[in-house]
Symmetry: C3
């Protein structure tokens, strides 16, 4: 008898628009997960680091880092959606909708919202909208991602192409549902590490986050397993040694979290990611790479009915093996510059 | 004055049948330990991962992974029993008897139940039965293991050989003492990740668990320290560089935990290890090795008075640096095949 | 617009005697942090490992390891004090004043108490007294440290030299403020791992702690980030490759914690560090180094009004890539011997 009970994942031709996946495994987050997340990235945002700080300004308690919530929900979708992915191409319309606290349990479902075969007929792109919920049924986040998947059977016919229309950015009116009313008088700027409020940032302003982190194999593997993300390219050196890169690939979400943690230096009061308007993993990262990050302020927006907080739209760029003091992004020819890893477009929340 | 207060461990001639050891250090397990365990192995079994899932089916809360309990109890015995071991030869008659929850404190005692000098008179085998208890006095697990120990004094006389008789497998009537009454109607198979119940498995069925993990030095050291296991071969490269393998050896329990985590793919509803009937570490593992796993169903058994759950006896085999799709185990000559690391014989519990 | 909001740290000429820093970020410690600390060092002291043990002898619950408290408070001071340090030269007058439990939140302030330019006029030494408090306002520890800092502007004038007078050791009358009344009858020596009490140690006694640990990059980075210590020399291989050592330096506090964990073997009942009388990082450590440790008992002292506990003053020495059985410390010429990393002078607390 053969291993018919083993999940070997879906391939391009297994997806249909409208298809729904209820992902395994539900996951209760704890202060243990938070400690490990902190040790992996070194984040220092006061709201997530300090119970009394979070409670003073209006949270029930210190919330779990937004990107940890993202990674855990994302991780659940991997066995069904991207176990056999060639590449995780992009994100859009990611909104954080409810604070997540230690003790909360996350589940995830995904709906296929687009499919398009590549012109080589050996692979194609699948678009899914993934929704994470907590044990109460409340949605904690939603996002769209698209991945390139190989075909199992090259002769399989492809369905008609459906490519979803995705907004360039999340409407500010939809932001900050996950932020309670903030008592800004009790927000201790000195303890948070910087004096800058919402109105202190200006479109066009660029910030070199100045610090950097060199990645180790053990670190990215620990992180990716913490999220129960099983994508084999991150863990199996025996197999990867035969592949294009000869090495394990670092889960792209790790670059997101590192860049976010580094961005504390200059954006210390951007205590919440309200939305990921878009994101691209421009190049792969490997153990031994040193990650730097910089940000550009793209836009400021008020949030309807909120006088306590404002939104800053920022481009957060991670680069590797080069300092970010000269804000590397594009070449003269318009392609991404050497060393650019990640190009994220975020709505960040600050006290006013 | 010299370091007479330092424990340098026992040698073969220090053991006598009937000898009792009350091991240091009692250890309170927390959600922090659980988070780290998850990050080290990537387990996805729903009962251990999710508080509401565990509570819905009848647990007081999500129990600690069975093998984590095993490793912590095992670790306590190392300074007294196996600090100077040449090899950890085998396990038998390991039964899990009470669920362990975060907040519980584990202690361990061992009794010497067998001793046999090797024919070379430079080493010998010691058999111990180790019992782990929680703070209430309840036994959480018992197991027998045997280790090869060198002699400190080659001239030391050996006692008469005593080799304990060990059953080939644990009697099914003794299984599942650690499993509360399970409300199978509330066991959400879709969330757990697979649809298979007890009756869906058949003796002779083999499952390639399909995923793999490459081990790093930092990972196995973190894990082994988490269990407060002090065996020097895992930690001291300066000393190991002079030894047979030139490298640190990975604690065998890590291979057990990795294989168990990989076995989720195909055995997702085997939510509890009720017993380890036997186990052998066939070959050493080192950092850089990639671990694959496969299982063979050996036997199905009802459990007296339990209509909620059934037991599946499975052989869980871990191999390194080769895929498990062809179920590697023995050579034509009957010895273990190249790459086989671990041969475990388990009783697993599933919903009926 | 340039990155004016980014903190690039202070340089020698930025400090003035009397200057005060309220450091970011407040940090709530959890059982998750404790689990990771245990996995990083493998400590086995019963009071910190076991809730019922700690409660039986008089603690409210198992306290957080003293050196973890030290590292977290120290880490807060790094962005303001030592981000641009050439070297962390020494510690003195470090006293632990209140037990810290999971759930407590730590903050830190520092006062500049000394400044002295080096004769080369390119750098200088800054002395600070750092105070850590918990959310109640209680001081949990105080210590003095001095660091060598480079000048940003070599032409900057130096203030008059002020070098604080520091006692050689903390007065025993000031010790053990962080230790509740201990019920020694309920201190289970067998479970703690050794039988030795205060009166069993003698000045001049030396103990080889016998175990050793080889350090990995991922381990020291995880630990240092756990403490939110941002000193770039620990994390940025891309930058370090251009420097003196070509490699990331291990945060000296990691050597302190490893040596302390190793010292369990021989000092198992020294359950609390009451004071660090002085300490020097003699040489840098790097990933791949194997750390051994030994101790010498320097002095025994009663503590006024305490019949439950006594203090042992011990020199704790960490060495690398050589065993500690011959107690390596000084050369015949009086300089530190090859391989010595750390020379700590501690007051330790034991049951009487």
């Amino acid at each position: 008898m053969t291993a018919s009970k083993t999940n070997t994942g879906n391939f391009f031709e297994d997806f249909r628009v409208g298809q729904l996946f209820a992902h395994a495994t539900p996951r209760t987050l704890t202060v243990g997960d938070v400690a490990l997340y902190n040790a992996l990235y070194g984040a220092r945002f006061a709201v997530q680091s300090c119970e009394p700080f979070a409670q003073a300004i209006g949270y029930r308690r210190a919330p779990v880092d937004d990107l940890m919530v993202f990674h855990v929900v994302f991780g659940k979708s991997v066995p069904d959606i991207s176990r056999n992915a060639i590449a995780n191409l992009g994100y859009a319309d990611c909104r954080f909708l409810t604070p997540v606290y230690p003790g909360d349990t996350l589940t995830a479902v995904s709906e296929v919202i687009g499919i398009k075969e590549n012109s080589n007929h050996t692979s194609g792109v699948v678009y899914v909208r993934t929704t994470g919920r907590k044990q109460t049924g409340e949605i904690v986040l939603e996002f769209v991602r698209w991945v390139m998947l190989r075909k199992r059977n090259l002769a399989a016919a492809a369905p008609a192409a459906v490519v979803p229309k995705l907004a360039e950015r999340v409407d500010p009116a939809l932001l900050a549902k996950a932020v309670p009313a903030i008592d800004v008088k009790r927000y201790a700027f000195a303890l948070a590490g910087e004096a800058y409020r919402w109105a202190d940032y200006r479109p066009g302003e660029r910030l070199d986050h100045a610090e950097a982190m060199t990645l180790e194999e053990a670190e990215h593997q620990l992180a990716t397993r913490l999220y129960q993300n099983t994508a084999r390219v991150h863990f199996n050196q025996h197999e990867q040694a035969q592949g294009q890169f000869k090495r394990r690939l670092v889960y792209g979400g790790i670059i997101m979290s590192l860049a976010r943690a580094l961005s504390y230096n200059g954006l210390a009061n951007c205590f919440h990611i309200a939305a990921i308007n878009g994101g691209r993993h421009v190049a792969p990262a490997f153990a031994g790479d040193t990650i730097y990050a910089w940000s550009e302020i793209l836009e400021l927006s008020e949030i309807p009915l909120r006088r306590d907080i404002g939104a800053v739209r920022a481009r957060l760029v991670a680069v590797k093996n080069r300092a970010a003091a000269d804000f590397p992004l594009l070449t003269a020819a318009g392609s991404y510059a050497e060393g650019v890893l990640l190009d994220l477009d975020l709505w960040l929340i600050l006290p006013r």
